[in-house]
Symmetry: D2
Subunit: 481 residues, 4 copies
């Protein structure tokens, strides 16, 4: 009932699916570099200075071609990098191979089991200390917060609080984490305390991980400074929106080659991800129905001409369901049972619990695997649904994730956040920060030339009239774009 | 060179173009009420309680059918209202007539001269005290900040600072204001001081007025609490965006009946107003070029497929220019001289200084009035351009402004802000406030049923998972929608 | 229960609403000339040659600014023109005044009664013979076929067939026509026979009129050659589609200023007019439902993401109804009674019988006139609907029709058809013809430069490969564009 | 310099890449059947009757999953089928395997050499006569006309005209065909004459093949009746338009994962394929430039807001080039040399000669294969371009072609054409026919229920008013949809 585990190849300090894919990966990395002007510009600007020189950086972020360019940017500015993916299906094996072949320790392949996934996360955290032991990272690049979670939970355990690891688990994955922590407790006593001592900060990529960080901070449990990269405008209003507008359909097409025109598609949630998803499906000629809990977002959807109703009211009518909410139990087993025959169900939010996948597996529905990441479940009444990527991110599980150009924005924010965390490690507190608007504007600026945009320049007189500096920033912090 | 002054009719405490239009105005107010569920719901909720009972409220806001519904809502919840328009061209005369006929003092007609405009503003401020003198408002509903400006400048003068009223004026309008203040100083000594003493707050409608308020607050000169209604999500992300998406084309069509398909249109500025304007023009089949100073907004425009370049680079190519920036000197006289023959120039930002209208008037170009608010200017080289609404808001000058439904959102925010200012008049400080998110969500909620939206409800379990209350608010304050 | 009849001014051989509007009309004609490059190019090409020199041309076509440019084009190439409108509401009075003032007999004003309408049609047909009698036209420009109908019916009567004029009439308008024919029979015996003798052909503008012509031809009753201008690609695929995409919303906005975003709109019929109407409404953020009888057009609608169902299934859900079918009884009285309160009902097809307007008038619903061409009907249950332009073309009745640029295409076809009919009057038979593709392409070509289009030129080698001439025509006749 | 030839597996009367893929192919065929209601409905209707019982049918059409459903439909209604692909890259190997495994002779794999391609075509034509020799097909399903070409050329040769086979060849492929014909002439004397004798007709799928047929007919050389399936409305206005709207982006994404938003894309040709391509690219946020030779199509593009200019004027500005013209030499070597670094060049027209691929191969540019069907060519100046699918149909070469639902329309037309050709084999002449409108409407009707469309029914009264039958057909033949 789990991901199709692959064996991995490992001739050195890496675990990848097939190291022979490195050449192909390198060719695609070369192509991606042309599409990632922000990262390349940061390399040029900081290469000589090497602001992360010798800094141990652990990354837990989808191991794709785009991430390869991020990794090599971090290395170019001096960092000592180890990497894992943050999703069992999102690794592009040729990207991982190219990174491994270039000598950077990477632990990721498409189709990990959950046990393998968390082992890889630990591998990415474990910098050999040269004496047979391990040091932890000084900085973390996180996506979804799994590294941050693991360290915090490990630290909690070492501080003597065993309540969580001994509690009943709500999911298989939760138990896997607990088992890992127990094993580490035996094998590396005191390890997490030492990790935390060296750890200077985390920059977090995604809505869900950021949400976890704010919760930790509110509870007073956050151990390090955190930069919320997700809420840079050039991240959440770009990657989440324009990235999904491109990659959702890509996932659907590569999975099932389905005609979208004429179909009825339900997009659950109308945040940035939902807005991009709905726009894409409509552009293909699908009729899109939106579900929302938030009256403001619901009104936005209505103003764009989408019908807004509940999932329940669409059952039997809709052909495609996409969850984008960041919440859980959006598509329940009961929903799936009541859907139109051959309905397609997928998720493009960070976690797979938006769809009740476990309940589906245990429902007695007959599972037929069509091809990797595409499964058909046939219910007793004869109706079938298709579940994509086992409910995990469909764009990464069934296609290759967001395209390079938009990720260059997100990853430029990540890199600037890493530089900033290290440079100001002595002044940051254990809180959640957002990058200053000036950096946000700078990230945008780095991407304009590539696509031929020519900015207008304020005159001094105009700037004074507006009460801003000629070179920006131009908007108040509450501006929504 | 000025607006076409109309005579006005006045049989009582009002000045309107033609009181006989009242019946027609009333019919359209009745229609608008069906399209403004937010205001009607507020009436139902607060009518009995009458939270503004006896409160003197001055409004300076486009005197349209929609505003008539706002005025009558304020009256329904107890207020004593006097009203002026905030733009010489934006009054709908049948709306003003209906309001006057119903006994509410209103001072507004389409096509005021600047002198008349500021006199009307003063009229709206002047509540008869029953002894032949005048009291000022206790609350102000402002749009663009002209009432706030007048009171602050009058107060400054009475406090002994005569520097401004005696300085050289940068525009005709500036001189008109100074003349008015000097006249009031003679006729009503001490008036402004008394006004300020009674004044408990202002709620401001638009980006430009809000900008003025923040500047006053930064300079420590703000005399009263102010609520920034513009930056409620249900205002700036609705009225500015969806309102302009409907009313810009409406203004262009009523002015010149021009085919938009196939034309090249330049939208200066890609904020909310620019986004709505560009979307509308593209939907008609125009090819839209965007100009921007802000790299983030510029990148957004590019991601939507708009070409982004400077005004200079479009001269000779573009057929239509629309300014939406809130800045000045966006379209200069030199630009206009270099435009394609028969180019159309208009503005949908708050002030008319986005286009160098004064310079155009003094340029020697031959002006031919086609019909009210539509002028042709022929330059020496034989080329002509069309200037709409003398550079003032084209949607209000040439059409009827935003439609009722979206204004119901904005005006619900206004009404809730007025209620809040009065209820908490003792606790507010002289700062600029934004309405709490709960009210913002409430405004949206009031508009869903009318358009058939059915919200999904969070379960307690889901709400806990998200860390929000079941009934909201649902998003952190930095969320951008 | 009829149109609001206006008195007309007549100091010479014309009947218009107000001759003093001529200056304003002339200014707008000047503007329109810049937007009608096809007609202006035809003037330049044929002015010297004057191919219609002295030819008597009667036009029955919406008397708008655009039509004024057509009329003056026909005059420029030599024709002796008389004109009426083809719809009681579609005349722009300033356009008619300008034409009258320039000495061309025109008989049209906005808001004719049906009796006046048909009298005007007769006036336009009656060329003074200098001896107190009248000659008929040698060519006819028709839109909807009313002139063609009148002559055919008059001729039939003079040939001794009195069955029709003495039959019971299905509508008030039918009776008006019969009364007119009886009057003419008395006043001008033998008139129609003489008219037919001189008549060399008609060019017909619109789908509905063309349909009538094919029916006449099939019945063997067609008396003259007819050119179907409607089915030129540069007419039906431009004016019907792109014209309506601009003018439908214009009509709705000028009538009721209604917010379209968030509304549910039903477009009845998905032909070219329906396609343009649906696209426009969707672009405004309305949710569009399409009704269709033709499975191909229905499938097209579905491929664009429109929901396709029956009018019955939308009652209570939809806010706006637009008929575009060319068929009758699309919106019945029963439909209107069952609609949502405040629903808007309008028609953009040629005839007003798409909506059961007569039945509505006789239903007992209370009619409230809001303003010209906007009526509210309140049913016994308290629900009300708005009927626009009394069910006649909403874009012409409530706004100013299609914009100039697209009409330049249609009218260039008209003009080329008139030239062709006259030049080849001896070889044409009494059939319905379509303009050759070469002329169709020529019309398009005349409009490219104005909007900056640069065509690619075929090489001889490429032309040979395709088997076409380098200069076109490029497509087989069955090509659908 | 040619396609990457694969070895094929052959245990029986087939040649496919890998027969073990049959199970996967069968699962996807099952899914496709749910998306192809037209074909499934035809099966149900005609299965018992078996109108093609025993008829030998050769198909030359992209061997995809969708085509598999077509093949099995033909078999279900009785036909004896042999199949080849009509493109060296378009075969889906699992589809071919499933068909082979089910006992139908199929000769196709992804990545054939041109020699292999034409051998496969011959294999598909060669029905064993049971005596060691071969019979030809009685009916042909053609796509691009290669089978029709081969038979006509073979027949010409056997009739004694050796001029063509001995002439100099303009391309490698032309020489391959000539070599094949010479070989057949030796191995199977008189074969083509016998084939022609049995051959009752061809139905042709695509614009290019249809064009060839009309040329043959004009030259008086067409040997059999042909049905132009391409110009059924439910083919050219669906598959060409809506199919490309989905499959072009799919090809680009699977090839290069490129971000489309913000890119400048040039679509050469604005026919149905170009319209679909341009719409798709724009929806992704690309800025689309169109090139056209036909003024009507160019004006259509301009009315949709596309910039229309020549390829030359876009060099250095555009990132993506897509040819859709059906013409040759659209993108020349000189164009490619002058393009922006990293420009992407691809074709979605039937033949690869839209791009000067041969000239590119011989230009000295350095070719780097990124992955199958994706090549980078680096010119002497350091700039590189990407060529997709070697200039062949990018949607089939780099993705999986059009989705099932739209192909069900096209293939329903094919099947009805085949049935009709056989049923009326004695009355058809050697001309090119189009299917009657009633069948066209029927094809549409078969696809409505699947996507929830509910048609409105004409009343008898309405049908009479329109002069059509209640059950259709509803439109005149010249109607363009």
């Amino acid at each position: 009932m789990n991901a199709q585990a692959k064996t991995f190849s490992q001739d050195g300090d890496y675990k990848v699916a097939d190291i022979s894919l490195a050449d192909w990966g390198r060719k695609e990395i070369d192509i991606a570099e042309h599409e990632m002007p922000g990262l390349m510009s940061i390399r040029r600007k900081y290469q000589a200075e090497a602001p992360l020189k010798g800094v141990r950086v652990t990354g837990s972020l989808h191991m794709t071609i785009q991430t390869a360019v991020l990794i090599e940017t971090l290395k170019d500015i001096g960092a000592d990098v180890r990497w894992a993916s943050c999703n069992i299906f999102s690794t592009q094996d040729h990207a991982a191979a190219a990174i491994a072949a270039s000598g950077t320790p990477v632990f990721a392949w498409k189709g990990e089991s959950l046990e393998e996934y968390w082992d890889c996360t630990l591998d990415a955290l474990s910098f050999p200390d040269g004496k047979g032991g391990f040091l932890g990272p000084q900085l973390v690049v996180d996506d979804g917060g799994d590294v941050t979670l693991l360290i915090h939970k490990g630290y909690e355990l070492e501080k003597g609080d065993e309540s969580w690891v001994n509690s009943a688990s709500g999911s298989h994955e939760e138990q896997v984490i607990k088992n890992l922590l127990k094993r580490v407790a035996k094998e590396r006593p005191g390890y997490w305390t030492q990790v935390v001592a060296d750890w200077k900060g985390v920059s977090e990529e995604t809505t869900t991980g950021v949400h976890r960080l704010y919760q930790l901070a509110e509870q007073g449990k956050l151990l390090i400074p955190a930069i919320n990269v997700n809420d840079s405008v050039t991240k959440s209003k770009f990657d989440n929106l324009y990235g999904c507008r491109e990659s959702l359909a890509d996932g659907l097409k590569r999975a099932l080659d389905v005609m979208l025109a004429g179909k009825v598609a339900v997009v659950c949630g109308y945040g940035d991800v939902g807005k991009g998803s709905a726009a894409s499906l409509r552009a293909y000629g699908a009729r899109v129905i939106v579900t929302e809990i938030d009256p403001i977002c619901a009104l936005q959807a209505a103003m764009e001409g989408y019908e807004v109703k509940t999932v329940e009211d669409t059952l039997g009518e809709a052909d495609i369901y996409v969850t984008t909410t960041g919440n859980k139990d959006i598509i329940t087993l009961d929903h799936m049972k009541a859907m139109k025959d051959q309905a397609i169900v997928c998720n493009i939010g960070h976690f797979d619990n938006e769809i009740q996948v476990d309940a589906l597996y245990q429902s007695g529905a007959v599972r037929t695997n069509i091809k990797p990441q595409v499964d058909k479940f046939t219910f007793g009444n004869g109706n079938a649904i298709f579940l994509l990527a086992e409910g995990r991110l469909v764009n990464l599980g069934c296609a290759t994730g967001h395209p390079s150009f938009v990720m260059s924005n997100s990853f430029s924010n990540q890199t600037l956040a890493q530089i900033d965390l290290w440079a100001n490690k002595d002044s940051y507190e254990s809180k959640v920060y957002i990058l200053p608007k000036q950096l946000d504007e700078e990230v945008a600026r780095l991407h304009l030339e590539k696509i031929g945009v020519k900015l207008t320049k304020l005159s001094k007189d105009q700037a004074d009239y507006l009460g801003v500096a000629v070179e920006g920033p131009y908007k108040p912090d509450h501006y929504r774009y």
